[in-house]
């Protein structure tokens, strides 16, 4: 008897482990009959998960935390037993903004501190001549994209709430909005950055991994009470997705993974575009300039799939920094408890002895090392922020 499951996802490359788990039959092998439901908005995914129309979902890691804390929305405790992707986003800027930044830059154009400072000068110049503030788009208020953009520009002295406009835009609208000048830049996941470059409307300025070497991006999310009621089913699901994550990371399987994701009912874009993201080898300029990074998107590689609570703590700290959440020890504890490394270990039958070594640090290009036991001290080191004190 197969267990039927409804799992929601947004058509993005970092849903790969989930899509491959289903389309390669790994979930079926675990006795799960999964119906993958393609959704058009994170709000839909969150709400359908909350009210039980979905059993599990590909979800923005910060949404899992916000939902568990009841930030701006109904409080539904979420458990994330698996990280579907680490990194994977990029910042793409219009041709005009790219030229302006390169004109102002003092240093290496791949150094985020140099570009952030250059951006501050561009912003100041525009203010001086009375030009409209620059508009940056990201995917959701509670998204890594939002925090990566803010972290980057604030390090260069740009206040994301005062000096520029930061707006939410659904990924499918981003490239057009960049082309017609409604936005000057965006931070989004694959494949949208590559599409902008291919259409000749923008340059990839940074891989998100330039800003933070390691940031939890998407998680496999379930309701906490569902996890408690269905431990066996959840373990089967985690095993199937873990097997898929391993499959995705084998270079010899990438063509097949790209083919599966390219299907219209999955991500639905050309396999070649998907392949670039999986390989971490992207065209960054319309003139064909290529750039490669082994950390562009991590799926299962280097313990990427294990949901480390410290990652949740960092995301919560960003919510506090930008005024989305008040700081409290209790909320921090709740946030960290969303990332269920224990369920991951249990599902994959990994004991303490064989468990992973300490996760790699965040590798942020600016600011002090993050210490979850001193969020106050960490946040105090940043000049720009919206923290309600």
């Amino acid at each position: 008897m197969m267990t039927p499951l409804h799992i929601g996802f947004i058509p993005l490359v970092d849903a790969a482990a989930l899509i491959v788990a289903v389309d390669k039959g790994f979930t079926a092998a675990e006795g799960l009959d999964v119906n993958l439901v393609r959704e058009v908005s994170w709000s839909n995914v969150r709400d359908k998960l909350n009210i039980g129309l979905l059993d599990a979902a590909h979800l923005l890691a910060p949404v899992a935390i916000a939902s568990s804390l009841g930030l701006g929305h109904v409080k539904v405790p979420i458990a994330a037993p698996f990280t579907l992707g680490i990194n994977g986003n990029a910042i793409t800027v219009s041709k005009a903004l790219h030229a302006a930044i390169l004109h102002q830059i003092d240093g290496d154009r791949f150094d985020p501190m140099a570009t952030a400072r250059a951006l501050a000068r561009v912003v100041a110049e525009r203010a001086k001549i009375g030009a409209e503030p620059l508009t940056f788009a990201m995917t959701f208020p509670f998204s890594t994209h939002n925090y990566q953009l803010r972290f980057w520009m604030a390090a260069g002295g740009v206040d994301p709430d005062e000096d520029v406009r930061l707006v939410v835009l659904p990924p499918p609208y981003m490239v057009d909005s960049l082309a017609n000048g409604h936005v000057d830049a965006f931070c989004v996941g694959a494949p949208w950055n590559s599409i902008a470059v291919d259409q000749g409307v923008g340059h990839i300025l940074h891989f998100a991994s330039d800003i933070l070497a390691r940031a939890a991006e998407k998680v496999l999310a379930v309701r906490q009470n569902w996890a408690e009621k269905n431990p066996e089913i959840l373990a089967s699901l985690v095993r199937a997705v873990a097997r898929a994550a391993e499959y995705v990371e084998q270079p010899q399987n990438r063509a097949e993974v790209a083919r599966l994701l390219a299907q219209p009912e999955r991500v639905g874009v050309a396999a070649d575009l998907i392949r670039r993201t999986l390989d971490g080898r992207l065209r960054i300029s319309p003139d064909g300039t290529m750039r490669e990074s082994s950390r562009y998107l991590l799926i299962g590689r280097g313990e990427a799939a294990r949901p480390e609570p410290v990652q949740a703590a960092w995301l919560y700290a960003q919510m506090v920094r930008w005024g989305q959440a008040p700081l409290s020890a209790e909320a921090l504890k709740t946030a960290m408890a969303v990332f269920r490394a224990d369920l991951y270990d249990l599902s994959l039958k990994r004991g303490r002895a064989t468990g992973p070594v300490a996760p790699e640090p965040f590798g942020a290009f600016a600011g002090p090392d993050f210490d979850p036991s001193d969020v106050t001290g960490y946040l105090a080191s940043f000049e720009i922020g919206r923290r309600a004190s």
Partner: protein, 195 residues
């Protein structure tokens, strides 16, 4: 907020569905209804209109844009999502099934929202039914065309007349417990392959 009729904004890219909903709301006495079909600068338009209730279809990616209204630093009036009130599980379920979501400004009484939402759900369902019928009619027409082409192939290859070709397909469909359309499609596929 007007005491008589709350200001309602409908965000929907389908002009027909929006018109059906707008008409229903007006008939029910809700006069302040505005339809936004263009998603460009959506938030700015909504802020300018300052509605009490926002209705948006669930298949609209712009729903995520509305989530910005919850960011306290920016919004003038703070809306709350319909889904916040979990006590009314049945109506949440009904609205998700119908494919619509509502955002309601804080302070608007529940009993004033309920008739709007109920009307919205029933109109969305009516529209879905219409769409469904249209799709069914379209696919029936498509199937007719496929059957006619398959019939032509059988007539040519097996030297049958029209009646015989039809009977052959129908009896095959019955024997294999398949639809006529499926049998016809297999004939077309096979003849394509054997060309």
């Amino acid at each position: 907020m007007s005491a008589e009729s709350p200001k309602i904004v409908i965000v929907d890219e389908s002009p027909i569905r929006a018109a059906i909903l707008e008409e229903g709301l007006r008939e029910a006495g809700f006069t302040g209804v505005v339809h936004i079909s263009e998603m460009q600068s959506l938030l700015a338009r909504i802020y300018a209109l300052d509605p009490d209730v926002i209705l948006i279809d669930l298949e609209n990616p712009s729903r995520d844009i509305l989530e910005q209204m919850f960011q306290v630093s920016r919004a003038v009036r703070r809306p709350v999502a319909m889904f916040v009130d979990q006590s009314d599980a049945a109506s949440i379920q009904a609205s998700v099934d119908a494919g619509v979501s509502a955002y309601i400004v804080d302070g608007l009484k529940k009993e004033r929202v309920k008739p709007i939402l109920d009307l919205c759900i029933s109109r969305f369902n009516a529209f879905a039914k219409l769409q469904d019928e249209l799709d069914r009619t379209k696919s029936a027409l498509e199937e007719r065309k496929v059957i006619d082409r398959a019939k032509g192939i059988l007539m040519k290859l097996k030297g049958l007349n029209e009646e015989e070709a039809y009977v052959l397909m129908r009896s095959t469909a019955m024997r294999e417990k398949k639809k006529m359309g499926e049998i016809a499609q297999s004939i077309l596929t096979a003849s394509e392959l054997l060309k």
